[in-house]
Symmetry: C2
Subunit: 496 residues, 2 copies
């Protein structure tokens, strides 16, 4: 433990969880590390213990994005959370947000650090951050994610550090920490290529603010990846075919970096890269690095992989830790305001692939609210990438719940990405490039190519009646626009 605290004066701050967590009381704004991985574990467990012993308090939790069971699950189950921002994916927390028992505002991930810096979120009372080391000068080396930690540490009144014993010190050097300037009079973010390193390999920290250091043996909850099924593979294949075609026609440069959201389709696209000779020397400019990236690095296909976090399966994590010195050459972990920076995404010309909950016949996309009202996880970084990428894909299997739900609907029940920000819609059925089509042409193509055959007639019936009864540039029957959703809520099936 002490060898990881290379700034000797801070060794006096080593303490126990109860003493450390005493800095957190009712109403405290707690800003934590974590972006799918790299979140604190000891402090949440101690807070949950206090709650279970009958202490009555609530805190506000701000992270980089989602965390694991030990934060969002545990703190929700013990009713400790007042506000939570900016993103989560925990089942209990989701339920409580939808019940209005936890306050939540869904926001683009790229925005948050700057809002904290301008004081918009209130005082940064306590930052709780996971680290693998403290440098000789008292700076912080984070673990498997960066998220908003640099800004949280910079603005915190008090800092509590959980020194992870399960993450290797070899992680030092993988991070690239740069806090952009705020307006006015700011200069460009000096990142011009995916592989560029523009900052320091540690988070600058004022050691005087550190009130406690804990030894942590806890590990991140690992991701579970299955080998991609037929539907994600079909989607991935169509994307690669389309991009290859655009590149061969000279409408798209061959060396644009790729972003793929977390999940099956993303993994499927990446696994298709492995088998494809056309795509060599791939740059990834994304949010999260998943297992398949390690395979691609091993095959020599990755020029650089940039993200704000790594989410690996247990097996992949062991492999990564074992050969960290080799993987570190290719992987860069950045603050989320850089990994998701609209300025940088636009400059690099990222090819963006994100998952829709549902898309409508005119190309609007719902990423967040099931049946219009129930929050799923949040918009995350999808808006940052879809709106700013050089080419943006929205993907979804054409049906869900064994066919009871069509992912293509007359009108989405919640819009996160408007028709203006979505270029290409893909299901396992087919792909529609909306960029040069009128809304009516989009509708006709999406019904024909993307919708599942079981739903085509129903969609066509809606569309053709909307055209004849109402007309207009984007014909809708407002009284029936949500008829698919209403049927599902009444009968459990959008078809009946």
């Amino acid at each position: 433990m002490k060898d990881r605290i290379r700034y000797a004066p801070l060794r006096d701050k080593i303490t126990d969880p109860a003493t450390a967590a005493a800095h957190i009381v009712d109403g405290t704004n707690v800003f934590i590390s974590g972006f799918t991985a790299g979140y604190p574990k000891m402090i949440p467990m101690e807070l949950a213990r206090r709650a279970e012993q009958g202490e009555n308090f609530k805190i506000n939790i701000y992270a980089g994005a989602s965390t694991g069971e030990l934060v969002d699950g545990l703190l929700s189950n013990t009713d400790l959370v007042n506000w939570r921002r900016p993103y989560m994916s925990d089942r209990t927390m989701r339920k409580k947000i939808n019940n209005n028992e936890i306050l939540f505002k869904d926001d683009h991930l790229s925005r948050l650090s700057s809002l904290v810096r301008c004081g918009d979120w209130g005082a940064v009372d306590v930052a709780v951050v996971e680290a693998v080391a403290i440098t000789e000068k008292g700076h912080l080396v984070p673990t498997m994610s960066v998220g908003n930690t640099p800004t949280y540490v910079k603005h915190a009144d008090k800092i509590i550090i959980e020194m992870s014993q399960s993450d290797p010190q070899g992680l030092e050097g993988i991070h690239d920490i740069f806090i952009p300037e705020d307006p006015p009079y700011r200069m460009p973010i000096p990142l011009y290529r995916t592989a560029d390193r523009i900052g320091k390999p540690f988070i600058e920290m004022n050691p005087d603010k550190v009130v406690a250091i804990l030894e942590s043996g806890e590990k991140d909850t690992c991701a579970v990846f299955q080998s991609p099924g037929e539907i994600p593979l079909r989607i991935g294949e169509q994307i690669l075919d389309f991009v290859r075609h655009e590149m061969k026609q000279d409408r798209l440069p061959k060396t644009l970096p790729w972003q793929a959201g977390v999940g099956d389709v993303s993994n499927a696209v990446l696994s298709r890269f492995m088998e494809d000779d056309f795509f060599q020397s791939v740059d990834l400019y994304s949010e999260v690095i998943q297992d398949s990236v390690l395979d691609l690095i091993d095959m020599g296909k990755i020029r650089a992989a940039s993200a704000s976090a790594m989410t690996l399966s247990e097996k992949a994590r062991d492999r990564f830790f074992k050969e960290i010195y080799r993987y570190r050459e290719k992987i860069i972990l950045r603050p989320v305001e850089i990994s998701n920076s609209p300025e940088v995404i636009r400059r690099l010309g990222v090819i963006a692939i994100n998952t829709a909950l549902e898309a409508d016949i005119y190309g609007h996309v719902n990423s967040t609210h099931v049946m219009g009202s129930q929050l799923m996880n949040g918009i995350g970084g999808s808006g940052d990438f879809e709106r700013n990428g050089a080419l943006s894909f929205m993907v979804t299997p054409s049906m869900a719940k064994n066919g009871a739900i069509s992912a293509i609907v007359p009108m989405v029940s919640h819009v996160d990405h408007s028709e203006h920000s979505v270029d290409v819609i893909v299901t396992e059925q087919g792909l529609v490039d909306t960029r040069n089509l009128t809304p009516r042409q989009v509708a006709e193509a999406v019904i024909k190519k993307c919708a599942h055959p079981d739903y085509r007639d129903l969609l066509w019936d809606y569309y053709s009646r909307a055209v004849h009864k109402v007309g207009g540039h984007e014909p809708h029957l407002l009284g029936e626009a949500f008829s698919f959703h209403q049927r599902f809520m009444e009968t459990g099936d959008m078809k009946i």
Copy 2:
């Protein structure tokens, strides 16, 4: 005329409209100058003449944004338009787009030049551009707008120039022409302050591509501005009060540049500046410069005013032309991909003010489609500014059509700007800063503060039933979400 063609070899290209327009035939892609102002007039008149004489042909028209009666009106009336992009505001054209007689795709204005450069819009057959001069080296000095003209001229197979005799040569020097690089390997747009000039005062042109030069005595249709009514003034006042408060609380820097869309509210905000001692040395980083900017320059309140075009009343235009050497010191006209650049808007930290057709209780905004189906004008630059500004306002009078329409509805009938991109909603009734509110808190505040009192009970009834019957993070009754719109379409009044 000849003194305006300082590159002598091009003087041979002076010809008549019929000869020039012969380069445009059925199916020609015609890329024209024009962004509210500065559009060609002679060629459209000649094309209309040919149509009236019975020639049967259609063309595709691509401009910078909207144009005047002599382009969009005349060419629509003579049924000459197949495709029109990217924005228009003409009554006849609007009708034909809604009838699917003219093809139209609504897109962010900032996107278009880059799509043309990558070949996405097809061949640039003919560029038709209005100019005040051709330089000694054969380059082009545009008139009152820049729009997409630099890219159109660069990529055109043939160029037709309309040399305006009604615009003074003193306009030379007001333009700043910079075509950004395309990905990959591109560098930042080197614009760091509103006043920066980063390009050349002319549009680079290959004179060999010029096939015709016409002498034009036609003028742009002038804007008609009325002195702002009580409602826009109330909206403007609240915006300035709010911004002043945020600045005094140190949550917003004092020197951020402003953008205000075209129209009454924008003019009202600017006219409030005149009376307000708090706001001095204002930067405007906007799309269009209107009359009130000249007043502010005269008062010494403007540090720099940057836009892609000037739209002035007849009286203001005379005044501007008369003292152009003085105004030119403060005004910069840029390509729309620079004036509306997400990268630059974000870097500068623009305070954005745009007009909504309607907003819903959760903060989603419809800018484009009346009753969900009928296109009004298009999204224009509102998405570029709202999504990327440091603080973004969406403004609308709380009612329209003498109270028969509420601008605050349960759910907007078309989403152009999602809740994630809109910070503050303002009507003459009040203002809601949504940035730190949950959707339910937004709804309660918007109903109470922004909705007109005549509609508050109806909105509250919808919202409270949605909360109790459906619940969720953003409670909606999908069967009634458009009940306001349906009532209006049935009875002519949203209330009854």
